[in-house]
C-alpha cells in the first residue's frame, strides 16, 4: 500500500508538474523577420510636349496672298496658335492671310509642360498698279454734268437754248453709256405751277418725250432712255414769279426714283 500511494503521489506530482508546466506562459516565439521593404519609385515623368514641326509655307508672300502654317505636335492636349488661328489639333495645317509681316506662335501644353515655337510670314507690299490714265468719276458725278433743257409756257418744243444744252448732253450720254453699259437714265418732264395739275401731267410727259426724241436723233440709244412726267408735283422752287416758273419748266436727267 504505501508503495501504491507513493506511486500515486509521484504520478500526481508529475501530473501537476506537467500541468503546471503546461500553464506556465510560454515566452512568445520571436516575431518573424519583417518583409524586406521595397524602395517607392517615383513614376517616370510624363514626356514633354514635342513640336516636331511648325512652319509657314511660303515664308514670304505679297500682301493679299496666303501662306500655309503646318505643324506636328506630340505629348500635348492643348495646342493653340496666336494671331487669330486659335485652338488646333495635334497635327494639321491652316491657311493664313496676314496683311503685314506676322510671327505665329504655336503653344503646346500637356502634362509634361508647355512648349512653344514660332514661324514668321513675311508680307511685302504688292507692286504698285500702273498709274491710271485719268481718274474716272462714278455715274452720279458724270450725271451732274448733264444740263436741263428749258421750255416756254405750255410748250414742249425744243427752243434754241435747249437745243444747245441737249446737243452737249447727247455726247455726254453716249460716253456714259459706253462706260456704264448697264446704266439706264430717266428724263423727267416738269411744269410750272400755273396750269392745272392734270393737264401738266400730260405736258411734262410731252417735254420728256420731246427731249428724248431729240437725243435719239443725235445717236443716243433709245432703249437706254426712260421718260417720266412729274407734272407740277416736284417743283424746284415755289415762288410765283417768272424766274421760278422758268426753272420749273424743264426736262431733267436722273437715274430714276
Amino acid at each position: 500500500m504505501l508503495l501504491k500511494r507513493k506511486w500515486s503521489i509521484i504520478c500526481i506530482a508529475i501530473a501537476l508538474v506537467v500541468v503546471a508546466s503546461g500553464c506556465k506562459k510560454k515566452a512568445p516565439p520571436p516575431p518573424p523577420p519583417p518583409p524586406p521593404t521595397k524602395a517607392v519609385e517615383a513614376p517616370p515623368p510624363p514626356a514633354a510636349p514635342d513640336i516636331a514641326e511648325f512652319s509657314a509655307e511660303p515664308s514670304s508672300i505679297e500682301r493679299g496672298q496666303s501662306s500655309t502654317l503646318k505643324w506636328t505636335v506630340t505629348n500635348a492636349n492643348q495646342i493653340t496658335i496666336d494671331n487669330g488661328v486659335g485652338s488646333v489639333q495635334a497635327s494639321g495645317s491652316r491657311s493664313v492671310y496676314p496683311n503685314e509681316t506676322t510671327t505665329y506662335t504655336l503653344r503646346a501644353t500637356g502634362p509634361g509642360g508647355t512648349l512653344s515655337k514660332s514661324a514668321t510670314v513675311n508680307v511685302t507690299a504688292p507692286p504698285p498698279p500702273p498709274a491710271p490714265t485719268a481718274a474716272k468719276p462714278n455715274l452720279g458725278e458724270r450725271m451732274n454734268a448733264l444740263q436741263d433743257a428749258y421750255f416756254d409756257y405750255d410748250k414742249s418744243d425744243i427752243r434754241d437754248d435747249a437745243r444747245s444744252a441737249l446737243t452737249k448732253d447727247a455726247d455726254l450720254l453716249k460716253s456714259i453709256f459706253q462706260d456704264f453699259p448697264d446704266a439706264a437714265i430717266t428724263i423727267e418732264g416738269h411744269c410750272d405751277e400755273r396750269g392745272s395739275a392734270e393737264y401738266n401731267l400730260g405736258l411734262g410727259d410731252r417735254r420728256a418725250t420731246s427731249a428724248k426724241d431729240f437725243l435719239v436723233q443725235l445717236g443716243v440709244p433709245a432703249d437706254k432712255l426712260k421718260t417720266i412726267s412729274y407734272g407740277k408735283e416736284r417743283p424746284v422752287c415755289t415762288e410765283s414769279n417768272e424766274e421760278c416758273w422758268q426753272r420749273n419748266r424743264r426736262a431733267h436727267f436722273s437715274t430714276g426714283q
Binding site: S196, E198, Y199, G202, R206, T227
Partner: protein, 452 residues
C-alpha cells in the same frame, strides 16, 4: 323822237338789257336751285325721359340738314307761336277763320309773322332701350288738318347723342324727299392730303368729320374718282414707278387688279355709269389721249385721236354717251365734248384763258369746271355751264385759286379746292355760290370727289 323821251326811253332800255343779262347769267343756277323756295317752320322738339338729354343735338342736326339742302327757306325761330303742337291730336280748329289759337291752329303757322308753308314737328321718347322719334310734316296752307299731313313716321335710334343725330338725319331726309331732294347724310367725300408727308387718298363726311386715311403708299397718289355706286375708288399713283391707274375697293380697302397699258403716263381715270368700265388718259401714242377699258384694264379702246395733250375724260352720268374732257388741241387747255365713239368733237369753252376739271351734274345737262377767264394765268375760278346752250355762270371770284369742283349726289352742292386761306383746302358750297364751308385744315388737301 321827242327829246324829252330820249332819256327815259334809254333808261328803260338799259334796265331791260341789264335785267335780261342778269337773267341769262343766272339761268344755269335757277335750273339747279330754283328761285322759289318753300318756307318751313322747324320748332325745337322735346323728348321725354332720357331722350330729353339729347334733344339739343337732335334739333341742331334737323335744322342744319334742312337748311343746308338749299331747297327750303327756314322760317326764323324767333317768330314762332308760343304753343307748338307735338302731334296731330294737339291741333285745334279756330272757331272762325283768322282767329289765333296761340300756335295750335295750322293758320297760326301760315300767317305772318311766321309765314311758313310747312311745319315739321313731333317729339321723342325713350322706349324699350331705344330713342323713338315721332315725326310729322304738315302743309300749313291747308284749311283743315285732314288734308294737311304729308308725312307721319316713327324713327328708332340708340339712347345717346349718336342715336338722336341719326333719327334727325333720317327725318330730314324724308322731309327733303317731298321736294325730290336727296339727303347728303351717308355720302362721302374722297380727297388727297399730304398731311402725313406724302400725297395719299383720304375720305371724310360731307361736314368734314371722320377724316380717314385710305392709302399709305408713301409715294405720290393723286386725282381720285369714285364709281357711281360708291364701291370703288380709282386714282393715279407713282407707287409702281411711272404714273399708273390704281383701283381700290372702298368696302374692303384692298386693291383691285388693273392692267396699265405700256405707256409713260396712265392717269385721270373716270368710271362709266354702269361702273363696269373706265375712261382714262394714256400717253401710249406719244401724246396723252383718251382710252376706254374694262374695270381690270382689258378690252382697251382708244377714243380720242389727236396729236395734242388730252386728259380728264368725264362721261355723262345720265346718257353714258357723251364725254367732256380737257384738251390742248386748239392751243391752251380748254373743255371739249365728244361722242363716246370719238366723233362730234366740239369745244365748249370759248378759247379764252385755260379751263380744266369738268364735272357732270347728275342731271347730265350742266357741268361745273375751273376756268381762268377774266383773270391772269393760273387764277382759276369755279364756273357752271349748261352744255346744250353754252350759257355759263361764275361761282367764285378770285378768292385764291378755286379748282376741282365735284357735284354732290343731290345735284345742288359742290365740293371744291380753294387756296383762299393761304393753303390748299377743301370746301363745300351750294351751286349758287352761297353757304361756303371749309372742311379741312391739316396739311394741304386737293382734288375732292363726292360719292354715295
Amino acid at each position: 323822237m321827242n327829246k324829252k323821251l330820249i332819256l327815259p326811253t334809254f333808261a328803260a332800255l338799259l334796265s331791260a338789257i341789264l335785267a335780261a343779262l342778269w337773267a341769262q347769267e343766272n339761268t344755269v343756277i335757277i335750273k339747279l336751285i330754283g328761285s322759289q323756295k318753300p318756307a318751313i317752320a322747324v320748332p325745337d322738339l322735346h323728348g321725354s325721359g332720357a331722350a330729353q338729354n339729347f334733344m339739343s343735338a337732335f334739333n341742331d342736326t334737323l335744322f342744319s340738314d334742312l337748311q343746308s339742302s338749299g331747297l327750303l327757306t327756314m322760317a326764323p325761330k324767333g317768330m314762332y307761336p308760343l304753343q307748338v303742337p307735338q302731334r296731330p291730336e294737339d291741333f285745334r280748329q279756330p272757331p272762325r277763320p283768322g282767329t289765333s289759337m296761340g300756335g295750335l291752329a295750322l293758320s297760326d303757322w301760315a300767317s305772318p309773322p311766321v309765314s311758313a308753308n310747312y311745319l315739321a314737328t313731333g317729339y321723342t321718347a325713350e322706349q324699350n332701350g331705344q330713342i323713338v322719334l315721332y315725326g310729322w310734316l304738315f302743309d300749313v296752307g291747308q284749311p283743315n288738318l285732314a288734308n294737311a299731313q304729308i308725312l307721319g313716321k316713327r324713327y328708332f335710334g340708340s339712347v345717346d347723342e349718336a342715336g338722336a343725330r341719326l333719327v334727325a338725319h333720317q327725318f330730314a331726309a324724308d322731309i327733303l324727299a317731298h321736294w325730290g331732294g336727296t339727303s347728303l347724310f351717308g355720302t362721302k367725300i374722297y380727297f388727297i392730303s399730304n398731311r402725313t408727308g406724302h400725297k395719299e387718298v383720304w375720305s371724310m363726311d360731307p361736314d368734314g368729320s371722320n377724316q380717314k386715311q385710305l392709302t399709305s403708299f408713301k409715294s405720290i397718289s393723286i386725282m381720285p374718282a369714285i364709281s357711281p355706286d360708291g364701291s370703288k375708288l380709282a386714282f393715279t399713283s407713282y407707287a409702281s414707278g411711272n404714273p399708273g391707274i390704281f383701283i381700290l375697293s372702298t368696302e374692303t380697302g384692298r386693291r383691285l387688279p388693273f392692267y396699265n397699258q405700256r405707256a409713260s403716263l396712265n392717269a385721270t381715270p373716270d368710271f362709266m355709269p354702269d361702273g363696269k368700265q373706265i375712261l382714262y388718259a394714256s400717253s401710249a401714242s406719244g401724246y396723252a389721249q383718251i382710252y376706254a377699258a374694262n374695270l381690270d384694264g382689258s378690252n382697251l379702246r382708244r377714243i380720242s385721236s389727236s396729236r395734242a395733250i388730252e386728259v380728264e375724260p368725264k362721261v355723262n352720268p345720265k346718257t353714258g354717251n357723251d364725254i367732256v374732257f380737257v384738251s390742248g388741241r386748239t392751243g391752251p387747255q380748254q373743255i371739249f365734248r365728244m361722242n363716246f365713239d370719238g366723233t362730234g368733237v366740239e369745244r365748249l369753252t370759248n378759247g379764252e384763258g385755260e379751263a380744266s376739271n369738268p364735272s357732270w351734274n347728275p342731271n347730265g345737262e350742266v357741268i361745273a369746271f375751273s376756268w381762268t377767264r377774266g383773270y391772269a394765268t393760273g387764277n382759276f375760278n369755279i364756273f357752271l355751264m349748261d352744255v346744250a346752250s353754252r350759257e355759263y355762270s361764275q361761282l367764285t371770284h378770285s378768292e385764291g385759286r378755286n379748282e376741282n369742283p365735284s357735284w354732290a349726289p343731290d345735284g345742288r352742292h359742290l365740293v371744291f379746292m380753294s387756296t383762299r386761306s393761304g393753303s390748299h383746302q377743301i370746301y363745300t358750297m351750294l351751286a349758287d355760290g352761297t353757304q361756303v364751308h371749309q372742311l379741312t385744315s391739316a396739311g394741304n388737301n386737293w382734288t375732292p370727289v363726292w360719292g354715295k
